[in-house]
Amino acid sequence: METLLDVEDLWVKFPSRQGVFDAVRGVSFTLGRERLGIVGESGSGKSMTGRAILRLIRSPGIVEATQISLGGDDLMKKTEKEMRAVRGKRISMVMQDPKFSLNPVMTIGAQIIEAYRQHNKVSHADAYAKALEMLEAVSIRDAERVMRAYPHEMSGGMGQRIMIAMMLIPNPEILIADEPTSALDVSVQRQVLDIMDKLVKDRGMGLIFISHDLNLVADFCDRVLIMYAGRIVEICKADKLNEAKHPYTRGLLNSLPRLDAPRDHLEVLKRDPAWSEAPSVSGRV
């Protein structure tokens, strides 16, 4: 499989008065034209990994890596200005809650057009037409009205589809979806995922799907990285997640209720301090 992104030995550090806190500790993985899931609990470093790839960790946070190679280009060697040509254009990101990730005082149209014109020197009219087309691609009805509307007039599901349209309009190679459905009603989660899946597949993109929802990831992704305390503890094929061996993954799976096999007591995850000391498993192919 063709490698789009190659992350090697990625660290994210936050210096504090008590010493340096390592949010991500030596994570390595590759991404092809596939759906790669990253699962883990809060604070496991999964979101930090996503943001570190885009070099969006703000000072005082520090990102270190042997390389973050995007089609042979090492992102670690790029200046901030060069990174701006990568963000949006080659790697994009959808965040958790459209209520907060869309600018409340700008029309939706203006925000989508801005995303497109940032990387394409086209007229406003062309960008407008392109934005309409993109909104229709994410199944927004009455796209002209939506273009004029403000984010607070949209429902969560619509907001997230708009966010996907906005992030895919410059035609990036990779999309990082950071808990894209966690803030949505269960009823629209599937719909948003299907739209995202279709667009990513049609365009031959790579998708990094960050989530805490094991079932969702197992269902939706091709490959899964399981993170714990800033490290990858296990990698498996999504359809083989039930055969996972690491005690952390097993513990997570056992703590999930299942409709097909009801139990009186759900297991509580017992943490072994050794897990967070063990070296990170490499997810490079």
Binding site: V86, G88, K89, S101, A115
Partner: protein, 352 residues
């Protein structure tokens, strides 16, 4: 009139357009607030243990003179009736006679208020154009030397008394360096040259195309205006900084960065747009404070503004002048409030 309203919209049930009801609501709220303000100031003026008759006729006047003036002022009528008369007069722009100089209060206010307006406007412009960028930069470069400098500048602005800063300013820039004009609105040779149209010398001299007077008036206003501006700069820059810090940590800022936008665009096109509403409140408050008249500044710079006018009137128990001044200041507050409410609706789609 009555016929027109009977035949017109009064009976038909067609809903009025939104902007009509909106305007009616606004006008109504101004009217109610003003009525309350006039009533309160009137009552305070009447319960004050000051005899307005004595203030006019003097202590040696005969009882008959006293009685005549007493009747002339309408003091023999019930307070409610007196208030009715006062309200009627105020609505016609008549605040009564000043007990101190026997001139109509409205004329006095028409003279002193433009002086304050001129000074306050220039001051608040100074505060906005320096304070807002300073606050934004301090927030974006949080913890940097610029942030530290901004902090010190604001702290000095908050804590330095204006009588000291004003006197030092006069000593250095007028007395020693001679860069600016001294106290007063214009130099003595330039007084009463340009015809008074607006009462603001800067504007009047421009209307008259008298550039010499304009230059002189500017050299007189620049020091007190920058000092007042410095105080509003201190306030505006600190508030801007904290508003910006709040917005810069918002998730939509990350979205803008993910799009590949430059930090300049992220700050000004995204974050700044979201603080405009809060900033308007701060600026309006700051401006209203200045329009009330800064008594100390006006005294130090011999600036015949509304602050020193009201203070002088208060000290000499000239209640008509005090009431008139208070009503004007109150009106300014109300109008500024309404103006900032209107701007909210322009800048924040959620406020509609």
């Amino acid at each position: 009139m009555a016929q027109a309203s009977e035949n017109g919209g009064a009976r038909s049930r067609a809903p009025l357009p939104l902007w009509v009801t909106g305007t009616l609501k606004t006008v109504g709220s101004i009217a109610v607030t003003m009525l309350g303000l006039v009533f309160i100031t009137f009552v305070i003026g009447r319960v004050m243990p000051i005899d307005p008759v004595l203030a006019i006729v003097g202590e040696r006047a005969s009882q008959s003179t006293y009685n005549a003036v007493y009747t002339q002022l309408g003091l023999d009528k019930p307070v409610v009736v007196q208030f009715g008369y006062y309200l009627w007069d105020v609505m016609h722009g008549d605040f009564g006679m000043s007990l101190l100089n026997a001139r109509p209060v409205s004329e006095d206010i028409a003279r002193v208020f433009p002086a304050t307006l001129e000074l306050a406007t220039l001051g608040v412009f100074f505060g906005i154009f320096l304070g807002v960028p300073l606050g934004v930069v301090a927030a974006v470069r949080k913890g940097s030397w610029i942030d530290q400098v901004a902090r010190v500048v604001a702290l000095v602005g908050y804590s330095m008394p204006i009588f000291w800063l004003g006197l030092m300013g006069l000593l250095v820039f007028y007395g020693m360096l001679g860069w600016v004009g001294g106290p007063g609105r214009v130099g003595i040779f330039y007084e009463d040259i340009v015809p008074s149209v607006t009462g603001m010398i800067l504007v009047d001299s421009i209307l008259d195309r008298n550039w010499t007077v304009l230059k002189d008036a500017f050299s007189h206003i620049v020091l007190p205006a920058s000092l007042l501006g410095y105080y509003s700069l201190a306030y505006i820059s600190r508030m801007t900084r904290s508003f910006m810090l709040e917005q810069m940590s918002a998730e939509y800022i990350t979205t803008a960065r993910v799009k590949g936008m430059s930090e300049w665009d992220v700050v000004w096109k995204h974050a700044f747009r979201n603080i405009r509403v809060q900033l308007i409140t701060v600026i309006a408050l700051s401006y209203a404070g200045l329009l009330e008249g800064s008594v100390l500044t006006e005294i130090i710079f011999s600036w015949p503004g509304i602050g020193s006018y009201i203070t002088t009137a208060l000290l000499s128990a000239d209640m008509n002048a005090v009431l008139g001044g208070t009503v004007v200041v109150g009106l300014v507050f109300i109008l500024l409030n309404i103006f900032s409410d209107l701007l909210y609706k322009v800048f924040d789609p959620r406020a509609k």
